[in-house]
Point group: C2
Chain length 274, copies 2
């Protein structure tokens, strides 16, 4: 049997207990991701962006027959690029996934994190450094917000949640493949390197004298963000050039981390692109 492009179709994968299925499912564990250097991307939005932006890193694409048809817009280009597209049953797909609703398709993608040196070589104007983000959903949402605001890269410290965890990958809504993400950074050496690279270090902190509205954000800078609950460490604050706050006009105590980060980045984008 051959498909429209003349290639031989393989039979669908039907055994949820097979070695292959278990190895895909294993990518939900950090140890397996470290050993293989691969991540699991679940759902059509993430798979589409991985195929569209970093096809050379997509190792395998799995889809049910129904999903392969519904998402032909990226399944066909993936096939044409030579990516292995495997048809799977619903049961196999569920067995591969961490998500409750994988929506018919997942991909296994080589994870090649960017380096700080590589990012600095590109003369970045807008960066964000997450020092102690602990919630996977927040980290993913920050990456999505940084992408939308046109940031040049997202820097993540070694004291933060693992960027490659399925929950983070899902909540980036595909943005993980749109901009460089540097992980495992030691906070203070990173701030020193950024300073030497001419990047102004702005601590996003409620105690800042200036606000995002009255601070000059035209030059290259990095927003340095703290933990969801307790903010920035004293040593980190001290290592920054300036503390800047998002003004709170009403009675709310604060904004959540993803919200505050995105508002800071959009304030920067507005000034830099004016």
């Amino acid at each position: 049997m051959s498909d429209r492009t003349g290639r031989r179709e393989r039979p669908p994968l039907t055994n949820p207990a097979s070695e292959r299925v278990r190895s895909v499912r294993g990518l939900s564990r950090r140890s397996a991701r470290r050993r293989t250097g691969r991540v699991l991307v679940e759902g059509p939005q993430g798979v589409r962006e991985a195929v569209g932006f970093t096809p050379e890193r997509v190792v395998d694409l799995y889809a049910t027959a129904e999903a392969a048809e519904r998402y032909a817009e990226f399944v066909e280009p993936a096939r044409e690029r030579g990516i292995f597209v495997h048809e799977v049953t619903d049961e196999v797909l569920d067995a591969m996934c961490d998500a409750d609703t994988p929506q018919g398709t997942v991909a296994v993608v080589d994870w090649s994190p960017s380096s700080l040196e590589g990012v600095l070589a590109g003369d970045p104007r807008l960066l964000v450094l997450l020092t102690h983000v602990r919630d996977p959903g927040n980290l993913g949402t920050v990456i999505r917000g940084a992408d939308a605001a046109g940031a040049d890269a997202v820097l993540v410290s070694d004291a933060s949640v693992d960027v490659t965890s399925p929950k983070v990958v899902r909540s980036t809504a595909g943005s993980l493949f749109h901009l460089p993400v540097v992980t495992g950074l030691a906070i203070e050496p990173t701030l020193a390197t950024l300073g030497e690279g001419g990047v102004r270090r702005l601590a996003a902190d409620g105690g800042g004298a200036g606000t995002i509205d009255d601070t000059d954000l035209a030059g290259p800078h990095v927003w340095v963000m703290g933990n969801e609950a307790w903010g920035l460490e004293e040593a980190t604050l001290a290592a920054c050039d300036e503390a800047v706050r998002v003004p709170i006009h009403g009675h709310a105590e604060s904004l959540n981390l993803a919200m505050a980060t995105t508002i800071c980045l959009y304030a920067s984008a507005r000034q830099q692109r004016a």
Copy 2:
């Protein structure tokens, strides 16, 4: 036995199957909230803000002995205001709650939604109307963001998720008690009333010609927000004065609803408070 202020201490509530406990727990159901006009507020942040901002509406406050001591900053003022503070066991507190981690205290609060007429009588400058918000966490986060941005009120259509559900209340982080929230609004009559009241109706829509940065936001206006997945209905768009978009500078398809709403409101606050 009497406490430091000389009042008689009642014994702690210890029976998780009691009528009182079941009636508090019942407030997780919409039907019970409608019948009683009361809502369940879980956790110290929400309880503190309810006591601080709308003490006249707090019917009962429940706290474990440990929480009553830890949160004396609002438990004592609540007692002094004459609010019934009931000591409960951990088991009773868990039985009352919808949340997995109620953190030792909950309150039952009279829910008196504001009216659109009342909001308009205050000459509002900055409003948000949610037309089809479906996710409780998003609705709560929008209310928190609107509070932070200093919006005058949040308007919620009858096609949206119920504002009084425990998940919404929790995710407002206390902001539900900081600003008027009007619920159950029919979308088009509301837009007509707002227009007659001199409030410019701005549809937040990716297809808008203008952006939040190049649109004049100094006068009174309302941000009209659509559904998380499919945005605004055509008829709603047509009933607005103008469509305005949040610029997407990178490759992200969109921002999530709470993020987009908060960015719009902060853009307004910046211009109105300049």
